[in-house]
């Protein structure tokens, strides 16, 4: 036989083999298909299977539950702080302990709750919303959760062992440097940063690749849900901002461990270097927390106003421009540091400019309410609460963007009021709304509407009581991070009101948790689409099966479930004997590749344990960097070892 004939014969043989592979389609559909897919996609049983899971829904649930646990822990710290501040010259909590409390409260809320909970919700819902079976890089997803968990445990175990940090959540040098923070407290804080930043970077990579490559066919970028846009922008922001804090915390550990001089001005280092690098991350960080919440608001508003968000392109451009502008504002945290004053005006203007896209987004949501027929169930109540509360925070932000005003208000309780308004009003309210909204999808049951309404009003009113008086405390001259204040300055009343409000807020959050737990066991069973929403996650059961969709749906509008006449159109042809998903092109989302999805694997856990040992021991000795990298290299090699696939190569779809 000639070469050509041999190749042709081989091709035909392979083609005949391929005919025998079971795929979903007209021949295999319905309950039989679901049973086959279930067998292929479910994770191995037992504790090892639970640890080895790569199912994005399980990982997302873990993220959310862990983050809510940290919310509770951080909240308890804030109650302790408020008890100390309820009266002037109080002796309830010693200064050292109080300083640890506010450091832990800030670090827990910012690094262990706010960003991870957004990542967790995204990791759970994005593949469902985009109509695909799995995230990209599922094992990386699992790894990112374990890194987050170990970072959180590091910080909290240290706190409980009385070696927790006491340097503030932003740990300015030289206070956090080797001379003024003796011991390992600051190193533990800095290394927790490394854990959470690696975790966030991994999750960002997963999200970017999933959103760009793993959408349902026909879901062009112009038809993608706004939450997916928000997470895309956020993930890119994470990629650009996290390295800055990794660098500065790494340099801090280096100064403290081996005596480098990065922040020592006597040896031509600079204390301000820390502030620049930290805030270059720190300002985008708050938008990393806020933009997913805007995605939540868009989702809820669309469903409960019964129409898509008004001016979709404007909202998308607002998200993108907020993400870009957020990188040009960081010096507004440093107005008091004595940098050239004319330069500050640039940052004032930039800080005000970033309010414009957000303002336009708010208009779009309000226009959607105007043009639609809003139903005020609990998620929509949280959206209204968000508008009322976040805008106050945004406007107090405009006030402090001005240099002369900020020079008085910086580092006072006015700032504390501002950022709690934007973080709780702007992120926690939408979060609680979206957890109520997606609770049926995650658990299969509905949350109690009554408990939800009571919780909302308690939270909303308690929040105003707790944080509005802080504006006045700041205007009366109360600085931040003080464990007590003297009598006679007029600060007693605002602080007492804040303390009472804090307890109301805590009760409301507790009520939300009780609602969740109760509804988990006694809530009404949820149908696939209890809210009659429009996006793809509602096209599958509640909760979804491990494979998400029996057939990959095809979309041709922004609101597929509202525009499909009867059943959604689907594409067929994915294997059922192995885990396989469909990748599509970046912009037009036409089918591109059939991608095998990795099976459950323990290597992410093993690598994260190796990395955790590496990071934690390098707090104590520089040799750990050398010796700790060996197990990491071995675990990484085992994870990435090419797997022999028992399959014959299939032609790429053209």
């Amino acid at each position: 036989m000639t070469e050509l004939e041999r190749v042709r014969a081989e091709d035909q043989r392979l083609a005949k083999e391929r005919q025998r592979i079971a795929r979903d389609g007209p021949k295999l559909t319905g309950a039989k298909l679901e049973a086959r897919l279930e067998r292929t996609w479910r994770r191995p049983p037992g504790i090892l299977g639970w640890l080895a899971t790569v199912d994005h829904k399980e990982i997302g649930r873990r993220y959310i539950i862990t983050a809510l646990l940290f919310l509770a822990l951080g909240g308890m710290l804030s109650l302790a702080m408020r008890l100390q501040l309820a009266q002037p010259d109080s002796n309830l909590i010693s200064p050292q302990r109080y300083n640890e409390l506010f450091t832990m409260h800030g670090s827990t809320m910012m690094f262990l709750f706010a960003v991870p909970v957004m990542e967790g919700v995204a990791v759970f819902i994005i593949p469902l919303m985009l109509g695909t079976r799995s995230t990209a890089f599922p094992r990386l997803n699992a790894f990112s959760y374990y890194m987050y968990l170990f970072g959180g445990l590091l910080l909290w175990v240290a706190f409980l062992l009385n070696i927790g940090p006491d340097i503030g959540w932003f740990a300015y040098t030289p206070l956090s440097g080797p001379q003024f923070s003796p011991g390992k407290r600051a190193d533990i804080w800095a290394q927790m940063i490394t854990f959470t930043e690696v975790s966030a970077l991994a999750a960002a990579v997963v999200l970017i690749c999933t959103i760009l490559k793993a959408r349902a066919p026909g879901m062009t970028l112009a038809r993608m849900p706004l939450f997916a846009w928000a997470m895309l922008v956020v993930a890119v922001m994470i990629v650009f901002s996290m390295p800055s804090i990794a660098l500065c915390s790494g340099m801090l550990i280096s100064d403290r461990l081996v005596g480098t001089q990065f922040y020592n001005h006597y040896e031509h280092g600079d204390a301000l270097l820390w502030q620049h690098l930290f805030w270059f991350f720190g300002h985008p960080e708050v938008y990393i927390i806020f933009l997913p919440a805007t995605g939540f608001v868009s989702v809820i508003t669309e469903t409960f106003c019964r129409r898509p968000i008004f001016a979709y392109p404007v909202v998308v451009l607002a998200l993108i421009s907020t993400g870009i502008l957020a990188f040009g504002l960081w010096v507004h945290h440093m107005f008091a540091t004595g940098l050239p004053r004319v330069g500050y005006s640039f940052y004032t203007s930039a800080s005000m400019t970033v309010a414009i896209p957000t303002g336009l987004q708010i208009f779009c949501w309000l226009a959607t309410m105007w043009d639609g027929r809003p139903r005020f169930q609990v998620p929509m109540l949280y959206v209204v609460g968000f508008i009322v509360t976040f805008v106050i925070g945004g406007l107090s932000g405009v006030i402090i963007a001005s240099v002369p005003l900020d020079l008085q208000l910086h580092d006072t309780y006015f700032i504390v009021a501002h950022f709690h308004y934007v973080l709780i009003g702007g992120a926690v309210f939408p979060l609680l709304g979206i957890l109520t909204y997606w609770f049926p999808k995650i658990t299969g049951r509905m949350m109690s509407e009554t408990l939800g309404k009571i919780g909302f009003w308690m939270l909303f009113l308690g929040f105003q009581l707790a944080f509005f008086p802080m504006h006045f405390a700041g205007l009366l001259g109360m600085p931040r991070r003080v464990y007590t204040y003297p009598a006679g300055l007029g600060l007693e009343l605002p602080n007492l009101l804040s303390t009472i409000g804090a307890f109301v807020v805590a009760t409301a959050v507790g009520l939300f948790v009780v609602n969740g737990l109760y509804s988990l066991y006694r809530g009404a069973i949820a149908p696939p689409n209890p809210w009659e929403a429009s996006t793809l996650e509602w096209a599958t059961t509640s909760p979804p099966p491990p494979y998400n969709f029996a057939h990959v749906p095809v979309v041709d509008s922004k609101t597929p479930l509202w525009d499909a006449e009867g059943e959604l159109p689907v594409v067929t042809g994915l294997r059922v004997d192995e885990k396989e998903t469909l990748l599509t092109t970046v912009v037009a989302a036409s089918p591109d590749l059939r991608e095998p999805v990795p099976a459950a694997s323990l290597w992410p856990l093993i690598l994260s344990i190796a990395v955790a040992v590496f990071f934690i021991s390098s707090i104590f000795s520089p040799w750990a960097v050398l010796f700790g990298s060996i197990p990491c290299a071995i675990a990484a090699a085992a994870w990435f070892w090419p797997k022999e696939l028992n399959r014959n190569p299939e032609p790429v779809i053209t």
Binding site: L175, A311, G338, W370, R373, T484
Partner: protein
Amino acid sequence: MSIQHYQSIFGNAATEVRQFNTLFVIFLVVCAVMYVAVIAFLIAGIARRRRAAEANTVEEGRHHESDPAMRTGLIAWGAVVGTGLVALAIASFVADRSMANAAAHEKLSITVTGNQWWWDVQYNAADNSKMVRTANELHLPVGVPVRIMLKSNDVIHSFWVPSLAGKQDLIPGRDTDITITPQKVGIYRGQCAEYCGAEHAKMALVVDVDSYPDFIKWWQHQLQTAPKPTTPLALAGYNYVTSRNCSACHAIAGTPASATVGPDLTHLASRRTLAASMPMSEGNLYGWVADPQSIKPGTKMPTIGLEPNELHAVVAYLETLK
């Protein structure tokens, strides 16, 4: 002696903060108007649902259409927000420039060095014999521009007397400065406004704005050395203070005690506060000298463990340091 604790941002007692109140009100008004607009739109959206027939929802099959007024509204909203923010930015810039330009032609120079957790204040003079060193307290003449050079001996602090000026950080390795031209006689309180460690909450300072003659009188008094003790108890205290632990860190002009680790004590008893946090009084003095660690835990001043008669003697001597 009671102190008027006046730490409000609206104190408006110096030229540099003259513009603050006006600017704040401008911002507040513009922001309030924007907020009212948002809430009004929100309420309109909520209330409008009663007019069901006009809704563009999926139930009506019109969810791909929009009210054309909204398009105009979006552009108008963007224009209003943009204009408002530009106006605010300009107002802020103008105020900022005028405040910065006012900081010129200072007639008096003071160096404030931040320490954990007290303020080292030194009045500079061309003639070194006229220099004055004190702690946690400034006296300023009304109407005279004063330039305060800010340095730090350890970590970042922030000099903030709300009624007189915005804050400025004291950063080790960098020299920053702030100019204040007080306009109203009075006593103003300030506090460190950058977290600087365990006792950041108790690093306050008091600024006493006097008329010019009173200020000169104060300065002349500060130039005098400490008076010689007259009573036997004060003499015993003097002996202790100048030969024992106190002299390891403190200086009292005219005595052998000349260390610069801690605050200068030459005119301690005439200051308004003690330990940067308490009103000056005999009782507070006893408490502080006897056991500083229980009043300000973590402070650098150690608890010496004085015998009762030593304590009486030391306090008796310190009280003569007016």
